[in-house]
């Protein structure tokens, strides 16, 4: 049964307003970043802002046509859409233009398109479609395999271009799965793994080891809700370390503190295992096993870094992590970006008065580093507004996703949220040195027709679905 609705009433105008604000403000900053007093024509297609204006126009047309299509189109044609997306990924590998060392762009009828941008929509649709199927549960091997496939295939194809940043984007779908029942600990472990990975590269070994031990001790207590357990484990570890240290003073070989800590942890672990098996402390064994896994991870990461990576690759990683600063070479981007943003001060230098961005000090300043223009010209007020606008949009979308009666719509909504969240958080963090520099755009802001069109379609398919939420349909 279908109810007639007035579509205009049902469109979530909060979302649309936030979207329009971001697009317009984004365009203004693209204009500023390429602003040259000699070229005043905003419609000049040769300039980024003119081109972007054209794409905004095309996007609006596309959005209108979205609303002209029946909303069932998306769920109905999900898999064909996905298939076409994969096809395009294959095409770009074969026929794509090579830019900056990767084949990510296809030239069709004079327009340049980036298939990887649109694939994100296809994957979000595919997951939503699959998991909303009749009697499909997430936590089955079959489901997980399908989902792994949906996400994994594009990831592999994109990594062949190669485009490391975009490949990484697909990891965001874990949020969708989490909402649908993926055990929280998987999310936790994944995050923790990523953190440990970064820590290993950033911190000295002994610090990592101490943190791991401390976390393990903590978790033993948390898992069993018994503080005693934590204290007990801590005591055992501290005790063994003390004994081992004293012993080391008397032997001729003097190993460093790290070695001592390692040895004492192993001894403590053995003691703990014996006690655990005797006293049957629940979970402790599991935690110890995980601890062991993480320590191994730490070692292997270190091993790979020190022994497998070549020096220049090591440097690259170090710079990405900010361990080394190379303000003229690879670290140049980041340094200039921070300078540009930092120079903005509280209220910015004023619209069109940014020196760093106007004078090409920030590379990629209209694409990946567009946020720098905001920072430089609008200052902290400007950056805060943009961050809050995106946060607002995401929270609003979360609210919208939850009110969906259709599982498909809800799942797709979460897909949109995950993708947008990943892009916004990582892109901005990148410009201010909180995340390694990987090339991903800021949605609705960064210059790029494919990007603008793809993100807008991503969003408005959901707005479309949300607008008909009162008509229940799978």
């Amino acid at each position: 049964m279908t109810r007639t609705i007035n579509i205009l009433e049902e469109i979530d105008w909060t979302t649309v307003s936030l979207y329009l604000f971001l697009v317009i403000f984004g365009w203004m900053n693209i204009f500023a970043s390429s602003y040259n007093e000699q070229f005043r024509n905003i419609f000049d297609l040769r300039q980024s802002y003119g081109d972007q204006l054209l794409w905004i126009f095309i996007t609006f047309l596309a959005i209108f046509s979205l609303f002209a299509i029946d909303h069932r189109f998306f769920s109905f044609f999900t898999y064909p859409i996905y298939g076409i997306a994969i096809l395009f990924l294959l095409l770009v590998l074969a026929f794509g233009l090579e830019i900056h060392g990767s084949r990510s762009w296809l030239n069709i009828a004079g327009f340049s398109l980036q298939p990887s941008e649109f694939v994100k929509i296809a994957v979000a649709l595919a997951i939503a479609r699959y998991l909303s199927g009749y009697n499909v549960k997430l936590m089955t091997w079959r489901s997980l395999a399908f989902i792994a496939g949906f996400i994994g295939v594009p990831m592999i194809l994109i990594s062949l271009q190669p485009d490391f940043g975009t490949t990484l984007v697909f990891s965001c779908f874990i949020l969708v799965l989490y909402r649908e029942g993926l055990p929280g600990w998987i999310l936790g472990i994944s995050l923790f793994t990523a953190i440990v990975f970064l820590m290993t590269l950033l911190l000295p070994e002994i610090a990592v080891l101490i943190i791991l031990l401390a976390s393990a001790v903590l978790f033993i207590g948390i898992a069993n809700q018994k503080v005693n357990h934590s204290l007990f484990s801590a005591l055992i570890i501290a005790g063994t370390f003390g004994i081992v240290k004293i012993i080391s003073l008397f032997i001729p070989v003097k190993p460093g503190n790290y070695m001592l800590l390692l040895i004492s942890s192993v001894i403590a672990a053995i003691i703990l295992i014996i006690i655990i098996l005797r006293k049957k402390i629940p979970n402790a064994l599991l935690i110890l096993a995980i601890l062991f896994a993480f320590v191994s991870l730490t070692f292997s990461v270190d091993y790979v870094f020190d022994k497998v990576l070549k020096p220049h690759q090591q440097t690259r990683v170090n710079i990405l992590l900010g361990k080394e600063t190379d303000t003229k070479g690879v670290g140049y981007n980041l340094n200039q970006s921070k300078i540009a943003i930092g120079a903005g001060g509280f209220a910015g230098k004023g619209y069109l008065h940014g020196t760093q961005t106007k004078l090409d000090y920030v590379p990629e300043q209209s694409t990946d580093f567009i946020f720098c223009t905001v920072g430089e010209e609008w200052g902290f007020l400007g950056t805060m507004v943009v961050v809050l606008a995106f946060a607002g949009l995401l929270v609003r979308l979360l609210f919208l996703a939850e009110r969906q009666r259709s599982v498909f719509a809800r799942l797709y909504g979460y897909g949109v949220i995950s993708i947008l969240f990943f892009h916004v958080a990582v892109n901005i963090a990148m410009t201010i040195g909180l995340f390694p520099v990987i090339g991903i755009p800021l949605p609705f802001f960064s210059y790029g027709g494919s990007s603008m069109l793809a993100f807008s379609m991503l969003l408005f398919i959901f707005v479309r679905l949300d607008a008909v939420r009162k008509i229940y349909l799978i």
């Binding site: 909402r179 300078i339 930092g342 001060g345 902290f380 979360l398």
Partner: protein, 608 residues
């Protein structure tokens, strides 16, 4: 809707925490940490100095003496250097490759600035280089100005310009490295007027160092202000003429306009070409000039202390007149010298005895020894010391014994011994007129500078006053001269007495037989003068002459000093007379041409 709906909240928290973390970090970078702001400024702003042209220098008749020529500094911006054809560059600059490499290596510290690489390229080199400069990224040209002299003349007077050194910068923070500053002469003394002020252009540069436009629309730009033009009191024609005449002699000429104290000409010989001290070769040339045995850098008009010789006699005459110790009728005899109580001063052959005016005319040493004796043994004073002090005060009032406080750099004071000097040497009250009798004829401990002599001449010409000699006639943009140049210094000696001495000096030139300065006589102008022969114990005596003309309403007062010229009349007097004639009549009378020829062909440069 389902069991996991609560997880939305976790995700909401994730979003909010992330937003919060970003905002906090942004706050830190943008508001709290100011180091980025500074980096941004340094990145993109470049300040270019605009150097001002120095003011021009003209003579009293507005003839251009010193002006500016363009010079170009080759600048290097190490950050922008790219590989280039170094051989080609060396060819264009006419330097060798090792010098180029050394120069670049020296500047190789990574800087976002430009530094001078080679200073003051000649306009020809610049012209050749400019066409090809695009081939050498990282090299730029900055324009400067250097001095150019319309004539090789008045080097000591004009002074020269060099680069400012650290000591000066410390004393005067207005200056920065690379500025030019006037050193000595007019350039030095009037530096603050001539130099103008630096301007600056603040430019926006992009990451490649290319200029993109003015920073903030040129808000911080400052125009350079050209230096003020300077009109000096020198008469260029007279100066040039005098320098030509003195070319083969060591000595000096100073000529003053008595009614104003304006210095018409100031010559020290030997001199040097002022262009030698311009630009890059300045240090090298300066070194050579410094070691030249003839000491061309030495300004003899101001920095040499000489004994005045007989040219000092008019002063003693005036003092004696004023003290009432002599009058026109006073007669002394001369027996080829002055002899008294063991003291003897020789004199040349002339009529004897002589009255006052003839004493001056014949420059009789005995006459003036007697005159001086009367001054020091004046019964009005209780002791010789007192009388001497009185005499000394008169002498000082003529401007001797001290700096005249003119606008010349490096004035010497001369020396008029205070009585304490003789007290120390001879013992208190153990000296008298006869002990110091050489002062009577301008010898002994008396030391003067040629400038002081000319000033004395002007004083007598004015019949009793003088104006501080000065070189500034007008500074464009300033209405009034320094007060000290327009105030009269009066000598406390009656005008009537001056008129008598003037008469004596008139006779010295025009009095016919016995006149020591007959050679200075001009047919239609009344020249007054006094010869002098300054003793030189180490060699040949110096030829000295002071004069002024015309006698009534004098226009020029002059002192000429020719080292080792022997008699005053041999060199100093003829040269002075030629200058006077040239100044007052614009030419030399045909019947006096021989004097000019004689002076031009003589040579005492290496006389001792």
């Amino acid at each position: 809707m389902d069991q996991f709906a609560g997880r939305k909240n976790i995700i909401v928290i994730m979003v909010l925490v992330s937003a919060f973390a970003l905002i906090v970090r942004l706050f830190y970078i943008q508001v709290i940490d100011s180091s980025y702001k500074l980096s941004a400024e340094n990145n993109s702003k470049r300040i270019e100095t605009i150097y001002a042209a120095r003011g021009l220098i003209f003579d009293r008749n507005r003839k251009l003496l010193v002006y500016n020529q363009p010079a170009y500094d080759l600048m290097i911006a190490p950050f922008e250097l790219k590989p280039f054809d170094s051989t080609a560059l060396c060819d264009l600059l006419s330097i060798d490759i090792t010098r180029l490499r050394a120069g670049i290596a020296k500047v190789k510290i990574p800087k976002y600035r430009r530094e001078p690489f080679i200073k003051q390229l000649s306009p020809e080199t610049y012209a050749k280089l400019q066409e090809k400069l695009y081939k050498f990224p990282g090299f730029y040209v900055r324009s400067r100005t250097l001095r150019k002299y319309s004539r090789e003349m008045a080097s000591h007077l004009l002074g020269y310009v060099g680069e400012v050194d650290e000591k000066t910068i410390e004393k005067n923070p207005d200056y920065v490295m690379g500025d030019y500053i006037g050193i000595s002469g007019i350039e030095g003394y009037y530096e603050e007027f001539l130099r103008g002020s630096r301007g600056q252009e603040v430019l926006l540069v992009d990451v490649h160092g290319r200029v993109k436009g003015p920073y903030q629309g040129g808000r911080f730009d400052e125009d350079a202000k050209v230096g003020m033009d300077f009109v000096c009191t020198i008469d260029a024609t007279l100066q040039a003429y005098g320098e030509t005449l003195m070319k083969n002699y060591k000595g000096s000429i100073v000529a003053i306009e008595p009614s104003t104290g304006e210095v018409l000409t100031l010559i020290s010989s030997p001199s040097y070409d002022p262009s030698l001290l311009v630009g890059r070769q300045r240090s090298e040339n300066y070194g050579r000039l410094e070691h030249d045995s003839l000491e061309p850098l030495f300004n003899r008009a101001l920095m040499a202390n000489y004994p005045p010789g007989s040219t000092f006699k008019p002063v003693n005459a005036l003092i004696a007149l004023q003290q009432g110790l002599v009058n026109t009728g006073t007669t002394f005899s001369c027996n080829r010298g002055f002899f008294a109580r063991g003291v003897s001063v020789g004199c040349h052959d002339h009529n004897s005895p002589l009255k006052f005016l003839q004493g001056i005319q014949n420059s009789c040493n005995a006459y003036f020894c007697n005159v001086f004796r009367r001054i020091i043994e004046d019964p009005k004073f209780s002791s010789s010391t007192e009388a001497y002090n009185n005499w000394r005060n008169y002498v000082l009032s003529f401007g001797f014994g001290n700096r005249l406080n003119s606008d010349f750099t490096n004035e010497l004071k001369g020396f008029i011994a205070p009585s304490s000097y003789y007290d120390r040497y001879y013992g208190e009250n153990r000296w008298s007129a006869l002990t110091i009798i050489s002062l009577a004829i301008g010898q002994g401990e008396l030391l003067i500078t040629p400038l002081q002599m000319a000033n004395m001449s002007a004083c007598i010409a004015n019949r009793g006053y003088y104006f501080t000699p000065h070189i500034v006639k007008k500074i464009e943009g300033i209405d009034t001269l320094d007060h000290r140049f327009t105030s009269r210094h009066n000598i406390s000696i009656d005008t009537a007495n001056f008129r008598l001495v003037v008469e004596g000096m008139y006779l010295a030139v025009n009095g016919g037989p016995g006149s020591t300065a007959g050679i200075a006589r001009l047919s239609n102008i009344a020249v007054c003068g006094k010869t002098g022969t300054a003793e030189n114990p180490q060699g040949e005596d110096h030829s000295v002459f002071v004069a002024f003309a015309p006698k009534d309403d004098p226009k020029i007062a002059i002192s000429v000093y020719v080292e080792h010229g022997k008699w005053g009349a041999s060199y100093a007097a003829p040269i002075a007379s030629l200058l006077i004639e040239k100044y007052l009549t614009d030419s030399i009378a045909p019947n006096r041409k021989w004097i000019e020829t004689r002076m031009l062909s003589g040579n005492l440069l290496h006389a001792k």
